[in-house]
Amino acid sequence: MEERILEVRDVVKRFGGLVAVDHVSMDVYRGEVLGLIGPNGAGKTTLFNVITGIYKPEEGTVRFKGMDITGLPPHQVAKLGIARTFQLVRPLKNFTVLENVVVGALQKSPNLGDAVEKSLEILELVGLYEKRNVASGSLTLVEKKRLEVARALALEPELLLLDEVAAGLRPKEVDALVDMLREINKRGITMIMVEHVMRAVMNLSHRIVVLHHGRKIAEGTPQEVANNPQVIEAYLGTGVE
Amino acid sequence: LLRQRGGGEVTEIKVGVILPLSGKLAETGADLRDGIEFAVDQINSQGGVKACGGVPITVVWGDSAGKPETGASEAERLITQEKVVALVGAYQSAVTKTASEVAERYHVPFVNPDSTSPALTQRGYKWFFRVTPHDAMFAAQQVEFVNWLNQKFGNQIKTVAIIHEDSEWGSKVAEAWQQAFTQAGYQVVKVVKYHAATVTSLDSEVAALKAANPDLLLVAAYVQDAILLVRTMKAQNFAPKAVLAQDAGFITPSYKEQVGADGWYIFSREVFNWDLLEKISRLKEVNDAYKAKYGKDLNGNSARDYTGMWVLYYALEEACKKAKPSDLDAFRSALRDALANLNIPGDKLIMPWRGVKFDANGQNTLGQGIVVQMMEDGKYYTVYPEEFATKEPVFPMPPWTERGG
């Protein structure tokens, strides 16, 4: 568990006068699930965008498996083994669910038969097997989110970035999702999870990093973070599960 | 198809005519068609092709739509399917190029009454005959005209500027002008070329011409740009001593109707003009009959195609003496020879020409243009050559500020 798969160092991302990510550094170790939480507008999605190459940071570096990937274009980042889901889902609408996943799978298994086989397996894992031949445009939001996860998995990533995949789920569904993600994690995929649904983050994360106004304000085990008064004040509040 | 009557005699002689009957030039195409149709009517009513036993000429129409590829395919259809003895057409030089190429391959005579690109008769074709003068011939004649003006009015023209649109027509005209005027000792001080299809303003173009301050401005323009040019010249108060245009835009009915007083005193080279009626005796008669039938006067286009058809008729009469139309190949070949040897005197034509006689390249060497000038009644009058002139030229052009209108 000591290998650092991702090292974020002093990353700064500004939008005009606004500093969306403000000198954030963090490490992700191979095999762990890292929770990334923080109030709305804290800079979580922006940090994901920096890691995956959609934004270029003004300052700082991102290293993946020791290699500097700062500013690489998104498709190359994906090739190296970092996959992500979008907070706002973007399925390939006229493609079937299966086809959506196969697009990703082909990256690693150029043979169509293999790619399909692998995709079906993934669909089973995320619970979309039944819907494999449905056009992805007609899925419900939650299903689309699962499809996002499935597509990301198809890339056989070493590091998976999840942006609010539990949003909109009922507790039971959250639990099912957590089980699913844990299963994925067990297969050796490291994850960073941005999530507001505490039931998911707290259950799944090994460690949690908290952002606020673009800065890192806390880091630790779920327990430590949940009891951190600053985090409670800024983020958790009282009264919610 | 030469329809067989009993024992191998024909009942008609089929001629294929390719014109832009649809597309951008359809308006012109209609004029051309009327000229041809009228000529054929006259020929047939005076007894058809007598040497072939008085059979009538029938026209099979082909529409080029103004496109070279359609022109070529129409040529092939008329030759192989309709089995015409000869082709006539096709107005636009580009269409004439492809259509006559097909004719050349099939060994079918091609009579071209109306395309003026010099290149057409530089291809070494054996079956191609152009009745109208081409742009280089016009240019030479325009130099003569300017020389004549200089003689008459005391050497006022020394420098020349050219403005032309950039299609094949305008570019070739400009090329010929540049060559002819330079050779004759004039100084070409500026050449401006613009794209007619997209021109929305000629302000800079006219400014550049004005800066060059030429004595004579030569213009090759289509109708919208011709109007725009005159307007802009007036707006910028640019008045060279003379403006000499190369027909086209400057002689269209739209231009004449719309430009009004701003068009006065502008010269244009023409192939034909209404006042020739007074000078060419045959013409008045023909024009009266034509007007009775079509409700309009002949113009440069209809008159040339009318003439082209007659030229073909004279050749047919000769050919019939050498071969039978029922033997198509032999007849076409005889027709070609007849065209090559043709010599029609000027008084048999309605055009202001000295006659029709083709050189080895198939170019009529006896054709010529005329120069007209718009006078204060808004009409064009012939001013050159002198034998056809009905008015004295006004020269130099009065400045814009000193005109009524």
């Binding site: 709305n40 507008g41 299903e143 609010e164 949003a167 983020y235 509040g237 599960e241 | -």
Partner: protein, 237 residues
């Protein structure tokens, strides 16, 4: 209490696929009614049908006693129905302020725009701070706030919220749901779809449970909170 909204037996299709099978329920004036149901049950479909984005193949929708089944969406808004759609639907290239102004297009909203604006900004101070930022560049949660704010600008009689806490930080999510109570007290009627069932039952007066396009249960919040099936399926116990 007067019946503000009555949905009678609506059947809704997406092409060949039937999403709602004869759904009926009602919302009385001044109530908070929660619509519960698993993923894909048809909650969003129901709200969209009420706001007119979808047309039922059969059945009727009555609002203030009038049949509005065939009324176009914008007329329903004029009549006082506001719908905060799932997935936000903000205008990405307009600024925050322009987004709010766009909501003041209907007369009922325009008349009290300034006043409502104050109120909305007091609820979501971050929006005031970001009033000139392009809405599309707001964070996920900020966009959600903007969407709710916009619906409030409309000064509706019936406010329909589709998963308003989606993507909001826990603290803010709590506040937003609690807000519905405050709104109810000011005279709004609210139809709430919310994944946080525990919290929604806390604020709602009554609730309906949808399952695969059919209403399978209804009752007061207190009753449903005690219902073992609800406890298992929706409260995670």
């Amino acid at each position: 209490m007067a019946e503000l909204l009555k949905v009678e037996n609506i059947e809704v299709f997406y092409g060949e696929f039937q999403a709602l099978y004869g759904v009926s329920f009602h919302v009385d004036e001044g109530e908070i009614v929660a619509l519960l149901g698993a993923n894909g049950a048809g909650k969003t479909t129901t709200l969209k049908t009420i706001s007119g984005l979808l047309r039922p193949r059969s059945g009727r929708i009555l609002y203030e006693g009038r049949d509005i089944t065939h009324t176009p969406p914008h007329k329903r808004v004029e009549a006082g129905i506001a719908h905060v759609p799932e997935g936000r639907g903000i205008f990405p290239w307009l600024t925050v302020m322009e987004n709010l102004k766009a909501a003041a297009y209907v007369k009922r909203a325009r008349e009290r725009f300034e006043e409502t604006l104050e109120f909305v900004f007091s609820l979501f101070p971050i929006l005031k701070e970001r009033r000139d930022q392009q809405a599309g560049t707001l964070s996920g949660g900020e966009q959600q706030m903007l969407a709710i704010a916009r619906a409030l600008i409309l000064r509706p009689r019936l406010l329909m919220l589709d998963e308003p806490s989606l993507g909001l930080a826990p603290k803010l999510a709590y506040n937003v749901i609690m807000l519905t109570k405050q709104l109810r007290d000011e005279g709004y009627t609210i139809l709430l779809v919310e994944q946080n069932v525990r919290l929604s039952l806390k604020v709602a007066d009554r609730a309906y449970v949808l399952e695969t396009g059919r209403i399978v249960k209804e009752g007061s919040s207190a009753e449903l909170e005690r219902d073992p099936m609800i406890r298992a399926a929706y409260l995670g116990m």
